[in-house]
């Protein structure tokens, strides 16, 4: 999608009927994300248990560390046994795993994928680069801290993290969710303006809608 696709334009429908389309209004919702209050105690506990046992992952691999997610998918590690499964699109998943180096361009698209996911959703950041920039800390096109742009639940250190440590990270995420501490989505809604301002700071020619859902 480019900036031009967001302009108002005349479209001819299948019946030959002509109408005007305003993509920002017609294709995207204009409502801000809301903070969801937890359900009543026991019910929320049950929901959190259910959520922790079905993690659907969007492998948003923008760097070298994403290569370690592939062996994790193989029978040697069998992620299904840990109730983890990869999905190809953001609309089917609820855990974006952002990989290793975060070049500023793809990372700017990351929030778009994050916003299109169904809640509740959790962010797992792989590799040292997501924590403090890693070995690319002084690069002109690598962001240093992912948590300024997305609400990160679990960081997995390593350059690159081995599949075993990825599994440990996902297990940690499950524990956090079961304890009711996987509140990244609410954090994102609460500090939405701040996150948006940071995202816009690195992507100067903003050519996406502000609300990606």
């Amino acid at each position: 999608m480019t900036k031009k696709d967001l302009d108002k334009r005349k479209v001819t429908g299948p019946d030959g009927e002509k109408f005007e389309v305003d993509p920002l209004r017609d294709y995207f919702c204009q409502e801000r994300p809301r903070v969801h209050d937890p359900a009543r105690r026991i019910w929320e506990g049950f929901l959190n248990w259910a959520r922790s046992e079905s993690l659907w992952i969007l492998g948003y691999g923008t760097g070298c560390g994403a290569i370690e997610m592939r062996p994790l998918m193989t029978p040697r590690f069998t992620p299904n046994k840990h109730r983890i499964q990869w999905r190809p699109t953001p609309w089917q998943s609820n855990v974006p795993s952002s990989a290793a180096i975060c070049p500023s361009r793809p990372q700017a698209r990351g929030p778009g994928s994050y916003e299109q996911m169904q809640g509740p959703k959790y962010v797992v950041a792989l590799g040292s680069c997501t924590i403090n920039g890693g070995m690319y800390w002084d690069s002109y096109n690598t962001i240093n801290r992912l948590d300024k742009y997305l609400p990160v639940d679990v960081y997995i250190t390593g350059c690159m993290p081995r599949p075993e440590s990825l599994l440990a990270g996902f297990e940690k995420l499950k524990t956090l969710i079961r304890e009711g501490r996987g509140e990244g989505q609410n954090l994102y809604a609460k500090h939405f303006d701040e996150y948006k301002a940071n995202q816009k700071k690195i992507i100067r020619d903003w050519d996406m809608p502000d609300y990606n859902w």
């Binding site: 920039g133 002084d138 240093n144 100067r204």
Partner: protein, 176 residues
């Protein structure tokens, strides 16, 4: 083979700094005005039909950019590199996209990363990978990438840097 080629080129063009380290490799410096004719001649008459790469070096101290055209002759398995020096203040070069279409992509990248202009090259002014870049071109050596990173991104405090030599000395020979 290469010796005869050098002699033929020297008759026709003003080339200097000819380096021939191996028999299948040849580097030379051409004058800026003649470089495109030299590349054209090598392509059309000498069989160097393949453009391997077009890249640039920033010689900050000397105040000039160096463009390198690397050509390959597949029939005799030989390479030829042509160096061209450009003024750093107003870097501009003739385009070679009429010889190889893919050169336009190289030139677009050089325009973005070094700020070297190639008038007439297709889509040369469109952003290549740095969309919305407002600073000086990042591959120029006077661009301070660390300062830019600190200004734009959010450095996490607590990072320590050790001098590798000192650090290893302390690790390996602590009593010295």
């Amino acid at each position: 083979m290469m010796k005869a080629l050098i002699e033929r080129l020297e008759q026709k063009f003003r080339i200097s700094e000819v380096v021939r380290q191996r028999n299948d490799e040849l580097f030379m410096t051409a004058a800026k005005e003649e470089a495109v004719s030299l590349v054209t001649y090598l392509k059309e008459y000498e069989g160097f039909t393949h453009l391997v790469l077009l890249t640039a070096v920033d010689w900050l101290e000397a105040g000039r950019f160096q463009l390198t055209y690397l050509l390959n002759n597949n029939a005799v398995k030989a390479d030829a590199g042509i160096r061209v020096y450009l003024d750093r203040e107003r870097p501009e070069m003739e385009s070679i996209h009429h010889l190889w279409k893919q050169a336009a992509t190289y030139q677009r990248e050089l325009k973005e990363m070094f700020g070297i202009g190639f008038p007439g090259s297709p889509r040369v002014d469109e952003p290549f990978i740095l969309e919305g870049w407002r600073d000086i071109p990042p591959y120029r050596r006077d661009f301070d990438t660390k300062k830019y990173s600190e200004k734009t991104y959010f450095p996490r405090p607590g990072r320590k840097t050790y001098d590798p030599e000192e650090y290893m000395k302390k690790q390996l020979y602590p009593e010295e």
